[in-house]
Protein backbone atom coordinates (compact mmCIF):
# COMPACT_ATOMS: atom_id res chain seq x y z
CA UNK A 1 0.00 0.00 0.00
CA UNK A 2 1.37 3.40 -0.90
CA UNK A 3 1.14 6.61 1.10
CA UNK A 4 1.73 10.25 0.24
CA UNK A 5 3.98 12.44 2.39
CA UNK A 6 4.85 16.15 2.31
CA UNK A 7 7.85 17.89 3.84
CA UNK A 8 7.17 19.13 7.35
CA UNK A 9 10.00 21.63 7.37
CA UNK A 10 12.25 22.82 4.59
CA UNK A 11 15.08 20.83 3.06
CA UNK A 12 16.16 21.74 -0.47
CA UNK A 13 17.88 18.37 -0.97
CA UNK A 14 14.66 16.36 -0.73
CA UNK A 15 11.46 16.59 -2.78
CA UNK A 16 8.52 18.53 -1.37
CA UNK A 17 6.12 15.65 -1.88
CA UNK A 18 6.74 11.92 -2.18
CA UNK A 19 4.84 8.67 -2.49
CA UNK A 20 6.16 5.80 -0.38
CA UNK A 21 5.94 2.04 -0.47
CA UNK A 22 7.35 -0.49 1.95
CA UNK A 23 9.03 -3.45 0.24
CA UNK A 24 6.98 -6.65 0.38
CA UNK A 25 7.78 -9.50 -1.97
CA UNK A 26 4.27 -10.93 -1.69
CA UNK A 27 2.64 -7.67 -2.69
CA UNK A 28 2.49 -6.34 -6.23
CA UNK A 29 4.59 -3.14 -6.35
CA UNK A 30 3.08 0.19 -7.39
CA UNK A 31 3.42 1.31 -11.02
CA UNK A 32 6.21 3.78 -10.33
CA UNK A 33 8.39 1.00 -8.89
CA UNK A 34 7.64 -1.24 -11.88
CA UNK A 35 8.55 1.63 -14.23
CA UNK A 36 11.98 2.17 -12.71
CA UNK A 37 13.01 -1.31 -11.49
CA UNK A 38 13.70 -4.44 -13.51
CA UNK A 39 10.82 -6.91 -13.53
CA UNK A 40 11.61 -10.64 -13.31
CA UNK A 41 8.23 -12.20 -13.89
CA UNK A 42 4.47 -11.70 -13.93
CA UNK A 43 2.66 -14.65 -12.36
CA UNK A 44 -0.75 -16.13 -13.17
CA UNK A 45 -2.50 -13.79 -10.72
CA UNK A 46 -0.94 -10.91 -12.73
CA UNK A 47 1.28 -10.11 -9.77
CA UNK A 48 4.54 -8.42 -10.78
CA UNK A 49 7.69 -9.98 -9.35
CA UNK A 50 10.71 -7.67 -9.28
CA UNK A 51 14.28 -8.69 -9.96
CA UNK A 52 15.88 -8.52 -6.53
CA UNK A 53 18.77 -9.89 -4.52
CA UNK A 54 19.13 -10.47 -0.80
CA UNK A 55 22.22 -8.96 0.77
CA UNK A 56 24.29 -10.64 3.47
CA UNK A 57 23.00 -8.12 6.02
CA UNK A 58 19.33 -8.96 5.43
CA UNK A 59 18.70 -6.14 2.99
CA UNK A 60 17.20 -6.18 -0.48
CA UNK A 61 18.77 -4.92 -3.71
CA UNK A 62 16.38 -3.97 -6.52
CA UNK A 63 17.91 -3.70 -9.98
CA UNK A 64 17.22 -0.39 -11.68
CA UNK A 65 15.69 -0.71 -15.14
CA UNK A 66 16.80 1.01 -18.32
CA UNK A 67 20.38 1.70 -17.29
CA UNK A 68 23.36 0.44 -19.25
CA UNK A 69 25.42 0.18 -16.11
CA UNK A 70 24.26 -2.35 -13.50
CA UNK A 71 22.79 -0.14 -10.81
CA UNK A 72 20.76 -1.09 -7.80
CA UNK A 73 18.46 0.44 -5.23
CA UNK A 74 19.53 -0.76 -1.81
CA UNK A 75 16.97 -1.28 0.94
CA UNK A 76 19.04 -1.95 4.06
CA UNK A 77 16.18 -3.01 6.28
CA UNK A 78 13.06 -4.06 4.33
CA UNK A 79 10.91 -4.01 7.48
CA UNK A 80 11.48 -0.36 8.28
CA UNK A 81 12.88 1.36 5.17
CA UNK A 82 10.62 3.07 2.65
CA UNK A 83 11.00 3.23 -1.13
CA UNK A 84 10.14 6.80 -2.08
CA UNK A 85 9.25 8.37 -5.40
CA UNK A 86 9.10 12.00 -6.43
CA UNK A 87 6.54 12.34 -9.21
CA UNK A 88 8.01 15.64 -10.43
CA UNK A 89 11.68 14.76 -10.84
CA UNK A 90 10.90 11.04 -11.33
CA UNK A 91 13.50 10.19 -8.71
CA UNK A 92 13.40 6.86 -6.86
CA UNK A 93 15.22 6.63 -3.54
CA UNK A 94 15.15 4.93 -0.14
CA UNK A 95 14.56 6.58 3.25
CA UNK A 96 14.96 5.03 6.67
CA UNK A 97 12.01 5.32 9.03
CA UNK A 98 13.79 7.88 11.22
CA UNK A 99 14.68 10.00 8.19
CA UNK A 100 11.09 9.89 6.97
CA UNK A 101 9.79 10.96 10.39
CA UNK A 102 12.25 13.86 10.58
CA UNK A 103 11.66 15.14 7.06
CA UNK A 104 8.07 14.36 6.19
CA UNK A 105 4.54 14.19 7.52
CA UNK A 106 1.54 12.35 6.10
CA UNK A 107 -0.42 14.29 3.53
Amino acid sequence: MTEFYVQSGFNPFYPAEIETWKWNKDESPPNWVIDYCRVKNIDLDSRVILDYKRTSTGGVELVRAGTDIYSTLLIQNPNTDFICFDHISKKLFVLKQQELELLYKKK
Binding site: S8, G9, F10, N11, P12, F13, K96, Q98, E99, L102, L103, K105
Partner: protein
Amino acid sequence: MIDKDSISLLRSRRTKSLSIIVMDVSYPLDEKIQKGFDKITRISDVFLLFNDNCWIGSESIDKMKFACLHDCLGWISVKDITSESLLKVLNYTTTISEASNFLFYSIIKCSGLSKLTDEMLSTLKSYHISNVINKPILNLVRLAPRELHRFYQLPTKPKSNKLVEVINRLKDKITNKSNKKSNIAIFDYTNAHCTHKTDSWFVVMKVHTINTILEFFKKDENKEYSKTFKEPDPLIFLSSVLVKLNIDIINSDISKVKINGNSFSIEK
Protein backbone atom coordinates in the same frame (compact mmCIF):
# COMPACT_ATOMS: atom_id res chain seq x y z
CA MET B 1 4.18 25.43 4.08
CA ILE B 2 6.71 24.99 6.87
CA ASP B 3 5.22 23.46 10.00
CA LYS B 4 5.84 24.84 13.45
CA ASP B 5 8.47 22.92 15.41
CA SER B 6 9.99 21.58 12.20
CA ILE B 7 13.52 21.99 11.00
CA SER B 8 14.56 24.11 8.05
CA LEU B 9 17.83 23.29 6.38
CA LEU B 10 19.35 26.03 4.25
CA ARG B 11 22.49 24.49 2.83
CA SER B 12 24.72 21.44 3.14
CA ARG B 13 27.54 20.88 5.63
CA ARG B 14 30.81 22.74 5.03
CA THR B 15 32.91 22.06 8.11
CA LYS B 16 33.39 19.14 10.49
CA SER B 17 31.98 21.00 13.50
CA LEU B 18 28.46 22.14 14.30
CA SER B 19 27.54 24.91 16.72
CA ILE B 20 23.96 24.81 17.98
CA ILE B 21 23.20 28.33 19.18
CA VAL B 22 20.30 28.75 21.61
CA MET B 23 18.84 32.16 20.76
CA ASP B 24 18.08 33.53 24.22
CA VAL B 25 18.55 37.21 23.30
CA SER B 26 16.38 39.88 21.77
CA TYR B 27 16.85 41.44 18.35
CA PRO B 28 18.81 43.51 17.27
CA LEU B 29 21.81 41.67 18.65
CA ASP B 30 24.28 43.43 20.87
CA GLU B 31 27.45 44.44 19.00
CA LYS B 32 29.68 42.16 21.09
CA ILE B 33 27.31 39.23 20.59
CA GLN B 34 27.24 39.94 16.86
CA LYS B 35 31.05 39.84 16.72
CA GLY B 36 31.13 36.54 18.62
CA PHE B 37 28.43 35.19 16.31
CA ASP B 38 30.49 36.09 13.24
CA LYS B 39 33.60 34.47 14.71
CA ILE B 40 31.74 31.22 15.35
CA THR B 41 30.23 31.13 11.84
CA ARG B 42 33.75 31.41 10.39
CA ILE B 43 35.02 28.20 12.01
CA SER B 44 31.94 26.00 12.14
CA ASP B 45 28.48 25.41 10.72
CA VAL B 46 25.79 27.06 12.79
CA PHE B 47 22.32 25.79 13.66
CA LEU B 48 19.90 28.21 15.34
CA LEU B 49 17.43 27.18 18.02
CA PHE B 50 14.71 29.85 18.34
CA ASN B 51 11.82 30.27 20.70
CA ASP B 52 8.49 31.08 18.99
CA ASN B 53 7.90 34.01 21.30
CA CYS B 54 11.19 35.76 20.73
CA TRP B 55 11.71 38.37 18.06
CA ILE B 56 8.05 39.25 17.69
CA GLY B 57 7.33 42.92 17.06
CA SER B 58 8.00 45.73 14.65
CA GLU B 59 11.74 45.79 15.21
CA SER B 60 12.10 42.09 14.60
CA ILE B 61 13.52 40.38 11.57
CA ASP B 62 12.21 37.20 9.99
CA LYS B 63 13.98 34.17 11.51
CA MET B 64 14.51 32.58 8.10
CA LYS B 65 16.03 35.83 6.81
CA PHE B 66 18.33 36.09 9.82
CA ALA B 67 19.53 32.50 9.34
CA CYS B 68 20.11 33.14 5.60
CA LEU B 69 21.99 36.40 6.18
CA HIS B 70 24.31 34.75 8.66
CA ASP B 71 24.89 31.78 6.36
CA CYS B 72 23.59 29.30 8.93
CA LEU B 73 23.16 25.61 8.21
CA GLY B 74 19.59 25.58 9.43
CA TRP B 75 17.16 26.70 12.08
CA ILE B 76 14.18 25.61 14.14
CA SER B 77 11.60 27.65 16.00
CA VAL B 78 9.89 25.86 18.88
CA LYS B 79 7.22 26.77 21.42
CA ASP B 80 9.61 26.14 24.30
CA ILE B 81 13.30 25.42 23.97
CA THR B 82 13.45 22.20 25.96
CA SER B 83 15.26 18.90 25.94
CA GLU B 84 12.93 17.65 23.20
CA SER B 85 13.90 20.40 20.77
CA LEU B 86 17.62 19.86 21.38
CA LEU B 87 17.21 16.12 20.85
CA LYS B 88 15.33 16.78 17.62
CA VAL B 89 18.16 18.95 16.30
CA LEU B 90 20.78 16.39 17.34
CA ASN B 91 18.79 13.59 15.68
CA TYR B 92 18.44 15.62 12.49
CA THR B 93 22.11 16.56 12.34
CA THR B 94 23.22 12.97 12.79
CA THR B 95 20.66 11.31 10.50
CA ILE B 96 19.92 13.43 7.43
CA SER B 97 22.81 13.01 5.03
CA GLU B 98 23.32 16.63 3.90
CA ALA B 99 23.35 17.87 7.49
CA SER B 100 25.26 15.06 9.16
CA ASN B 101 28.78 13.61 9.54
CA PHE B 102 29.88 16.27 12.00
CA LEU B 103 32.73 15.26 14.28
CA PHE B 104 32.38 18.02 16.87
CA TYR B 105 29.37 19.62 18.46
CA SER B 106 29.15 22.85 20.45
CA ILE B 107 26.03 23.97 22.25
CA ILE B 108 26.19 27.69 22.86
CA LYS B 109 23.93 30.22 24.56
CA CYS B 110 23.75 33.29 22.35
CA SER B 111 23.81 35.64 25.35
CA GLY B 112 27.26 34.30 26.24
CA LEU B 113 28.76 35.01 22.82
CA SER B 114 29.75 38.49 24.04
CA LYS B 115 32.35 36.74 26.21
CA LEU B 116 33.89 34.83 23.31
CA THR B 117 37.61 35.55 23.16
CA ASP B 118 40.29 34.70 20.61
CA GLU B 119 41.91 32.34 23.15
CA MET B 120 38.67 30.38 23.41
CA LEU B 121 38.48 30.13 19.64
CA SER B 122 42.05 28.85 19.41
CA THR B 123 41.26 26.28 22.16
CA LEU B 124 38.20 25.24 20.17
CA LYS B 125 40.28 24.86 17.01
CA SER B 126 42.86 22.77 18.92
CA TYR B 127 40.02 20.64 20.33
CA HIS B 128 38.93 19.99 16.74
CA ILE B 129 42.41 19.07 15.55
CA SER B 130 43.96 17.33 18.54
CA ASN B 131 43.01 13.93 19.94
CA VAL B 132 44.22 14.81 23.45
CA ILE B 133 40.73 15.53 24.75
CA ASN B 134 37.88 13.26 23.77
CA LYS B 135 35.63 14.17 26.67
CA PRO B 136 32.98 16.89 26.72
CA ILE B 137 34.06 20.17 28.32
CA LEU B 138 31.55 21.83 30.64
CA ASN B 139 31.39 23.06 34.19
CA LEU B 140 28.99 20.88 36.17
CA VAL B 141 27.27 22.22 39.26
CA ARG B 142 25.12 20.18 41.62
CA LEU B 143 21.57 21.50 41.88
CA ALA B 144 20.80 23.45 45.04
CA PRO B 145 18.03 22.03 47.28
CA ARG B 146 15.66 24.81 46.17
CA GLU B 147 16.26 23.96 42.49
CA LEU B 148 15.78 20.25 43.19
CA HIS B 149 12.53 21.08 44.92
CA ARG B 150 11.38 23.09 41.89
CA PHE B 151 12.22 20.23 39.53
CA TYR B 152 10.36 17.58 41.50
CA GLN B 153 7.51 19.84 42.61
CA LEU B 154 4.04 18.47 42.07
CA PRO B 155 1.86 20.53 39.76
CA THR B 156 -0.70 22.58 41.67
CA LYS B 157 -4.33 22.77 40.69
CA PRO B 158 -5.28 26.29 39.61
CA LYS B 159 -7.76 28.03 41.92
CA SER B 160 -11.17 28.40 40.33
CA ASN B 161 -14.14 30.50 41.20
CA LYS B 162 -16.95 28.40 42.71
CA LEU B 163 -19.67 30.33 40.91
CA VAL B 164 -17.94 29.82 37.54
CA GLU B 165 -17.57 26.13 38.35
CA VAL B 166 -21.33 25.77 39.05
CA ILE B 167 -22.22 27.63 35.85
CA ASN B 168 -19.89 25.41 33.84
CA ARG B 169 -21.40 22.29 35.39
CA LEU B 170 -24.91 23.51 34.53
CA LYS B 171 -23.77 24.29 30.97
CA ASP B 172 -22.38 20.77 30.66
CA LYS B 173 -25.65 19.30 31.90
CA ILE B 174 -27.66 21.32 29.38
CA THR B 175 -25.40 20.33 26.50
CA ASN B 176 -25.18 16.72 27.78
CA LYS B 177 -21.43 16.81 28.10
CA SER B 178 -19.82 14.35 30.43
CA ASN B 179 -17.76 15.69 33.29
CA LYS B 180 -14.29 16.37 32.02
CA LYS B 181 -11.34 15.69 34.22
CA SER B 182 -8.83 18.36 35.14
CA ASN B 183 -6.42 19.36 32.37
CA ILE B 184 -3.41 18.85 34.61
CA ALA B 185 -1.68 15.65 33.60
CA ILE B 186 -0.46 13.54 36.46
CA PHE B 187 3.28 13.92 36.41
CA ASP B 188 5.11 10.63 36.42
CA TYR B 189 8.18 10.89 38.61
CA THR B 190 9.50 7.42 37.97
CA ASN B 191 11.54 8.63 34.99
CA ALA B 192 12.47 12.06 36.32
CA HIS B 193 16.13 12.44 37.16
CA CYS B 194 17.90 15.76 37.42
CA THR B 195 20.86 16.28 39.71
CA HIS B 196 23.20 18.67 37.95
CA LYS B 197 23.22 21.79 35.85
CA THR B 198 25.98 23.69 34.13
CA ASP B 199 27.02 27.30 34.47
CA SER B 200 28.95 27.16 31.20
CA TRP B 201 27.45 28.96 28.23
CA PHE B 202 29.69 27.05 25.83
CA VAL B 203 29.62 23.24 25.88
CA VAL B 204 31.78 21.25 23.50
CA MET B 205 31.68 17.53 22.82
CA LYS B 206 32.65 15.02 20.18
CA VAL B 207 30.25 13.05 18.04
CA HIS B 208 30.69 9.77 19.95
CA THR B 209 29.23 11.44 23.05
CA ILE B 210 26.25 12.68 21.04
CA ASN B 211 25.76 9.17 19.59
CA THR B 212 25.82 7.67 23.11
CA ILE B 213 23.13 10.14 24.22
CA LEU B 214 20.97 9.49 21.14
CA GLU B 215 21.33 5.71 21.51
CA PHE B 216 20.09 6.04 25.09
CA PHE B 217 16.98 7.90 23.95
CA LYS B 218 16.22 5.45 21.15
CA LYS B 219 15.18 2.89 23.75
CA ASP B 220 11.47 3.01 24.53
CA GLU B 221 11.95 2.93 28.29
CA ASN B 222 14.09 6.09 28.16
CA LYS B 223 11.91 8.18 25.89
CA GLU B 224 9.82 9.48 28.79
CA TYR B 225 12.92 10.65 30.63
CA SER B 226 13.61 13.54 28.26
CA LYS B 227 10.02 14.77 28.65
CA THR B 228 10.49 15.29 32.39
CA PHE B 229 12.66 18.34 31.73
CA LYS B 230 10.44 21.38 31.63
CA GLU B 231 13.23 23.92 32.06
CA PRO B 232 13.70 26.34 29.14
CA ASP B 233 17.46 25.74 29.29
CA PRO B 234 18.56 22.68 27.25
CA LEU B 235 21.98 22.72 28.92
CA ILE B 236 20.41 21.56 32.22
CA PHE B 237 19.09 18.53 30.38
CA LEU B 238 22.44 17.91 28.72
CA SER B 239 24.43 18.07 31.95
CA SER B 240 21.97 15.78 33.73
CA VAL B 241 22.12 13.25 30.90
CA LEU B 242 25.93 13.23 30.98
CA VAL B 243 25.81 12.49 34.71
CA LYS B 244 23.09 9.86 34.33
CA LEU B 245 25.01 8.06 31.57
CA ASN B 246 28.26 8.21 33.54
CA ILE B 247 30.09 9.94 30.71
CA ASP B 248 33.51 11.24 31.71
CA ILE B 249 33.79 14.99 31.33
CA ILE B 250 36.35 17.72 31.84
CA ASN B 251 34.75 19.71 34.59
CA SER B 252 35.82 23.17 33.54
CA ASP B 253 34.95 26.03 31.24
CA ILE B 254 36.48 25.99 27.77
CA SER B 255 38.04 29.38 28.56
CA LYS B 256 40.15 27.71 31.27
CA VAL B 257 41.37 24.81 29.13
CA LYS B 258 44.64 25.18 27.25
CA ILE B 259 45.63 22.62 24.62
CA ASN B 260 49.27 22.54 23.52
CA GLY B 261 49.99 19.86 20.96
CA ASN B 262 49.80 16.54 22.78
CA SER B 263 49.04 17.88 26.23
CA PHE B 264 46.46 20.05 27.90
CA SER B 265 46.18 21.99 31.13
CA ILE B 266 43.29 23.40 33.10
CA GLU B 267 43.58 26.78 34.80
CA LYS B 268 42.15 27.05 38.28
